[in-house]
Structure formats: C-alpha cells, structure tokens
C-alpha cells in the first residue's frame, strides 16, 4: 500500500514553474533518496508533501489523506510526517530533553512523565541519552542533528522527510548522522531524503529518484540507476558529483 502518493503535482512560485507534474508513489518502509541539481525542485517537493508549501495542481496524499496547507491540516499531518532540516532548527532556549518533549506534551497532550520516557528512549536511539539536560548550542552540529532526529521520532511519524540534513555538517560529523539514518532504515521507518551522499543512497536506499527541471527524470533501484544511468542528464549529474 502506498504511504505517500503524488499525482501530477504542479507548483508555481509566481510565474516560476517549479514542479512540473510530479508522479511519485512511496510505500511504507521504503528509503527514497532524491537527487538532482540545485534548483531542480527537491526541497519544494518535500515541502509540498508536508504541507509547508501550497501546490496548484494535482494531488498529494499521505496515508490516504489529502495534503493541503490549511493550518489544521499541517498539524494533523505533523502526526504522520516528520521533517528534519539542514540547519537543525533546535529551539535554543530549551534543553535537549525539552526540545524532544515539547510536541508530545503540547500537541499529543502526553503527560510529562510519559513524554520524558519517550524522549529518553529516542535520545538513546540516536546515542545522546547523556545530553538530556544540555542546551543545543553546547553540542556539535552532528549531535544537534541527531537531537533533531530524536525530536521528530518522538512524534512517531509514519514517514520522515530529510532535506540535506548532513550538508551543514563538517565532513567528520556526517558519518554519525548517516549511521542513525541507517539504523532507522533497518527498523523499517519510511525515509524520503534529499541527499548528496551517493554512497548512502546506494547502500541504504531502496530507490533513487533523480529530479531535473521540476520533473522526476529517472528513478529506480539505486545500484542499477547509479551505475547505469539511462538519461544524459543523470550521467552528467553523476559525473559532476563524483
């Protein structure tokens, strides 16, 4: 059964046609890597899936329910779609623990004790249990990003969207974040990630989607598509990143 479905999605910023009829079907448990040049519409695609951006034509459903940007919809969506950003976006005035507990307590109305138990478990999962009482600015970028992952996981999302979540990190910190993602993938969480990490896409991903000029240009099994690209555009792109 499909968890995320996009049907002929068109998105414009004013006159600028950014998504030109996207069809995409993602099943539960898939790890989908979206690759493509800057400006090809990767972030926009993710932001349409979780209702952060409005789209003009077509339809998107998550878990069978239609996605719109109506505020209430975004909030309901938040329960099934988690998102991690390039810049972590942890709340600086809250401890790590408070960051993770915030949404479960005020959105899911969990008790503080229950939220804390979940928060500790999620932080354990990303290997940061001991940072519960630290403030974000005292952590390295890699640690902050892992907290952001724990924060999203605490809402038990059905699908996790990641937009270049290792791009702002120093090279030596990328690995620890990818390791967490790999672990999540093994546990069967559905991941949709915009990434430049081709090794990760190849070794962990179940599918690669190559976007070009606002379209899904080519997609398929990572090993096949990355070692044997069919279109000139993907060949060119592969040449540029390698």
């Amino acid at each position: 059964m499909s968890l995320v479905n996009l049907h002929q999605v068109h998105k414009f910023y004013g006159d600028h046609h950014v998504l030109k009829g996207i069809d995409l079907d993602i099943k539960a448990g898939e790890v989908v890597s979206i690759i493509g040049k800057s400006g090809s519409g990767k972030s926009t695609l993710l932001r349409c899936i979780n209702g952060l951006e409005h789209y003009q034509e077509g339809g998107i459903t998550v878990d069978g329910k239609e996605v719109t940007t109506e505020d209430i919809q975004v909030r309901r969506l938040a329960l099934s779609v988690g998102m991690i950003f390039q810049n972590f976006n942890l709340f600086p005035h809250m401890t790590v623990g408070e960051n993770v507990m915030l949404a479960p307590t005020i959105v899911l109305k969990k008790s503080k004790a229950e939220a804390e138990t979940t928060a500790r478990a999620m932080l354990e999962k990303v290997g940061l249990a001991e940072k519960f009482d630290s403030f974000p600015e005292k952590l390295s970028g890699g640690q902050q990003q892992r907290v952001a992952i724990a924060r999203a996981l605490a809402m038990s999302p059905k699908v996790l969207l990641c937009d270049e979540i290792t791009s702002a990190l120093d090279p030596e910190l990328v690995g620890e974040v990818l390791k967490v993602l790999e672990q999540l993938a093994k546990e069967g969480i559905t991941l949709v990630l915009v990434t430049h990490e081709m090794n990760f896409a190849r070794d962990v991903g179940s599918r690669v989607v190559f976007m070009h000029q606002g379209k899904v240009w080519e997609q398929g099994d990572p090993k096949t598509i990355l070692s044997n690209p069919q279109t000139d555009e993907l060949k060119q792109f592969m040449g540029a990143v390698l």
């Binding site: 979780n50 952060l52 505020d71 975004v74 909030r75 309901r76 938040a78 329960l79 779609v81 988690g82 998102m83 950003f85 810049n87 976006n89 942890l90 709340f91 600086p92 005035h93 809250m94 401890t95 915030l102 949404a103 005020i106 959105v107 899911l108 403030f135 005292k138 952001a148 924060r151 999203a152 809402m155």
Partner: protein
C-alpha cells in the same frame, strides 16, 4: 548655605510621591510591554489591515510629544464624555506611550527569529499560538532585552510630566516642597537623586529577571 534639613519635615510628601511614581512605573511597564508585545505580533505576523492599524498607532505616538498625549487624554477626552482621574489618565498615557515604542523594539526581536524555527514548530504540529509562546518569544525578547528595558526606564523618567495634571508623583512632591520652603536647589537635587536611585533599582530588577528568563545563555 544649603539647608537639606529643611526637607526633613516634608519626607512624607517625598515618600508618598515616590510611591506613586513606583506604582505607576510598575503598572505601566507591565501593561505597556504587554501592549507592545501584542502590537508587535500583529505588525510581524498579522494581516495587512491590522498591520496598518498598528503602524498608524505607533507613528502617531512616536511623532507627538508625550505631554500633548497626556493633555489630550486628560483634558481632551472629557469633550467626548470620557472623564478620567489624573491618575487614570496618566496610567493610560504612559501605557500607550511605552506600548508604541516597545512595539518597534519587540518587532525587531520577532524579526530576528528565523523562518526555520517557525517551520520546525509547524512540522511538529504546534499551532501558531503555541509557536509564539513556546518557540518565538523567549529568544526574541532576549535579542532586544537591553533596548526594551532602557525604554521602560525612559518612560519611568518621562512620567515626571504627569505632575502637570496634578498626579502627586515624585516631581509633584518636589514642586510642592520647594514652593513651601523655597529650597528649590535642595528639593530638586534630592528628587533627582531619587529618580537616579529608581533607575538603578529598575536596571537591577531587569537584569535579575533577564538572568532567569534567558538562563540558557549562561548555562553550562
């Protein structure tokens, strides 16, 4: 010769004036900052029409003298049936004045919060009110805290003007005393020192509050 001892018999007058000034300052600081917070939120996140209304208010207040605002409220409003006591008129005038100046200051704080913070709250399912109170306000106020507290002190000092409509504040006390004993030098010097003391006290209070509110900055 200076005769500070001549002031002693008027110490009750000074103390009661001081009390009035302190009371008005505390009240108008709280109300004014609350008003400024509400207006800044509208200015930053509201719809076009409500933004326009706030802009008109802010510009109106920031481009007219405080004493004229005060006189308008106290002497002008009765013409349309609003009779206010001097104390009430002063309270309203000071609140409106601080509200306008703090709107601009607080708005700068709100503007400093990145779109990413707001989106992070949104994708976690927080509604806008929760986002404001839980995610935006603390870091926003931290950014502009020194400017905001300075403005509160400026308004406290500016409140001296309300003695003009016979509110028996600290300045009123000074006027009264020097008109009785003709010790203008001593009266105003003592009064100035009392205002200075108040300013210093307020700064201490604001700093202590700031340390608590923004504890995360100094935490280890």
């Amino acid at each position: 010769m200076l005769y500070f001892s001549d002031l002693l018999q008027y110490s009750d007058v000074f103390l009661s004036g001081l009390k009035t000034t302190v009371e008005l300052t505390v009240l108008t600081t709280i109300l004014g900052v609350a008003l400024g917070t509400a207006c800044a939120t509208i200015r930053q996140y509201g719809n076009r029409a409500s933004q326009r209304v706030v802009s008109v208010y802010v510009e109106l207040i920031r481009n007219t003298p405080f004493i004229v605002q005060l006189f308008f409220i106290f002497f002008g409003l009765p013409a349309i049936g609003m009779m206010l006591s001097p104390w009430e008129a002063s309270m309203i005038a000071l609140t409106i004045n601080l509200g306008a100046y703090s709107t601009e200051i607080i708005r700068a704080g709100l503007a400093s919060i990145s779109k990413g913070q707001i989106e992070a709250a949104k994708v976690l399912g927080l509604n806008f009110r929760q986002t404001l109170t839980r995610v935006i306000f603390v870091p926003a106020f931290e950014k502009i805290y020194p400017a905001l507290t300075s403005q509160c002190i400026i308004v406290m000092l500016g409140s001296a003007v309300i003695s003009q409509i016979s509110v028996q504040d600290l300045t009123y006390a000074a006027n009264l005393v020097q008109s009785r004993n003709f010790r203008a030098f001593e009266s105003y010097l003592v009064t100035a020192l009392m205002y200075l003391g108040l300013s210093i006290l307020l700064r201490f209070a604001f700093n202590a509050l700031g340390k608590r509110l923004f504890a995360y900055r100094t935490a280890d």
